[in-house]
Symmetry: C2
Subunit: 296 residues, 2 copies
């Protein structure tokens, strides 16, 4: 079964009203006066990371990617549960977990530890508390809104390439930290949550994630690629399709001229036309080539 078919099948199950798009988006759970946000992400050896990678970096990414999902909901982390398959580098895994939990002020709540053979799978569930209701979703963009992104895109790509060069013994000394140690935009997400009409994190490439936001909102997004801040201007397309930057992509009503956090206007929300995305005026009919699709 493909991922799309599997998720379509899941949508036929008894769903919690807070299950938003299942694997696409974080879940929202009202508990009395508190709204919780819950995410679960898995990393698989050979698919999401290489066996040669430092397991401390892998653990850090596992925490960061889940907390990035909370950031895009304006949620503050309450704790994480870790599902760990034992293997090489376990001590480094614990060290990276420690660094990430300390960096993002998030305690460990529990989890499961299993033995396994073959490729390892690591899972993490993050629980957060929404700081604003309604909780931002990727589905709320309105015609006339402006489209914005925080930070600089492509930094993770350059970091990955520096790491790869290092692995080849090429030296070169590029900084790989943007790839190895992503920083979820938790403070930015909380500041933005009361103002945005839609928000998501950019995990799989700006253009792919913009396509998804447009589809979820039932609108068309018109993106000006030259406006997007990129880490390598000579490789603008790569920077906008590579992903792993964990910046926030969001829409604001036209009445808000300036976002409450540093961010760059990169486009506008238009009525849904034949395609969900225009890049520099060119219609983009499908996801192919827009980013890292079906990474999970």
């Amino acid at each position: 079964m493909t991922e799309a078919d599997f998720i379509a099948a899941l949508r036929t199950l008894p769903l919690h009203p807070g299950a938003r798009g299942l694997a696409d988006d974080a879940a929202v759970l009202d508990i009395g006066d508190t709204t919780l946000v819950l995410t679960h992400d898995m990393l698989v050896e050979g698919t999401h990371y290489l066996p040669s990678q430092d397991m401390a970096d892998v653990a850090f990414r596992l925490v960061a990617t889940n907390l990035s999902d909370l950031a895009s909901k304006g949620a503050e982390p309450l704790g994480v549960l870790v599902g760990h398959m034992l293997g090489a580098g376990d001590a480094r895994f614990v060290a990276g977990l420690h660094e990430a939990l300390a960096a993002f002020d998030t305690p460990l709540l529990g989890g499961d530890t299993v033995a396994g053979t073959g490729a390892r799978a690591l899972g993490l569930t993050a629980i957060g508390r929404a700081t604003h209701r309604p909780v931002p979703a990727r589905s709320g963009a309105q015609v006339g809104d402006g489209l914005f992104v925080t930070g600089t895109l492509g930094a993770a790509m350059l970091g990955f390439e520096a790491l790869r060069e290092e692995g080849k013994g090429g030296g070169g000394g590029g900084d790989s930290s943007a790839y190895r140690r992503p920083r979820p935009r938790l403070a930015q997400g909380r500041a933005l949550a009361p103002h945005v009409t839609a928000m998501m994190d950019v995990s799989d490439g700006l253009l792919l994630d913009a396509f998804r936001l447009a589809e979820a909102s039932g609108v068309t997004l018109a993106v000006q690629s030259a406006a997007a801040p990129v880490a390598a201007p000579a490789r603008r397309y790569d920077c906008l399709t590579w992903g792993d930057d964990y910046e926030l992509l969001f829409t604001l009503p036209a009445s808000i001229a300036k976002p409450p956090v540093p961010a760059t206007p990169i486009g506008r929300v238009e009525p849904r036309g034949f395609v969900p995305l225009f890049v520099d005026g060119e219609p983009i009919a499908n996801r192919a080539g827009l980013g890292y699709d079906h990474r999970g």
Copy 2:
């Protein structure tokens, strides 16, 4: 790293005050007036289930084992997040998930779907609401308490053997449902929670889990093996060490003569002596042979 070493390392991390023994026990999270109980369990192909098994049964077990952890806390399920690695039998997996969620009146909240190679890993996070505070733990047994267990032990073992015979084409027609479709004792757990001093589910064998309860509580348990209700009296030892029955093991103050749900008295809590467990008067100094250890 061994599982014990890994969990010991996790205990050095920033821990949530509700992290109870990490991989050993469910986490407890206070949200306003509500106390949540959170569990995460993984099943690994080849370790926890066989590739030849019906994936509907695997999905059912994945839900049931996590809900059993909630049952042992007297918690009612609020929802689950599923971490799924795509592979053979995905449609059956969804069918089994559907059956389990419907059977235990628990909605799907979200999750993650990933591609992978080699042995599959499946994870599930269950979130429940405690119906009684303090939330029962395995650590509260008091000297003088009685020790009880619900249901009959060894039924899952007989179910597994029936399934194995079926797989060999041996026919025979034994009922494998107790193994394939475990029923978490949710109603019993809720009824017991206000009364017990300690409670846990019997997942890895009665004797091993009694050993663990004794260690967590800092007491010695004296178990009368002949008192335990078993599905195959001629194989009493097997029934008490095989596990997978997901019954509830609990202690009650001596002042409560009769538990509020059907259960069998099987022993007594004594001051901690040299060993944590006596079976029929014989001291048991270590876990070897008591059950399915380090199953995760």
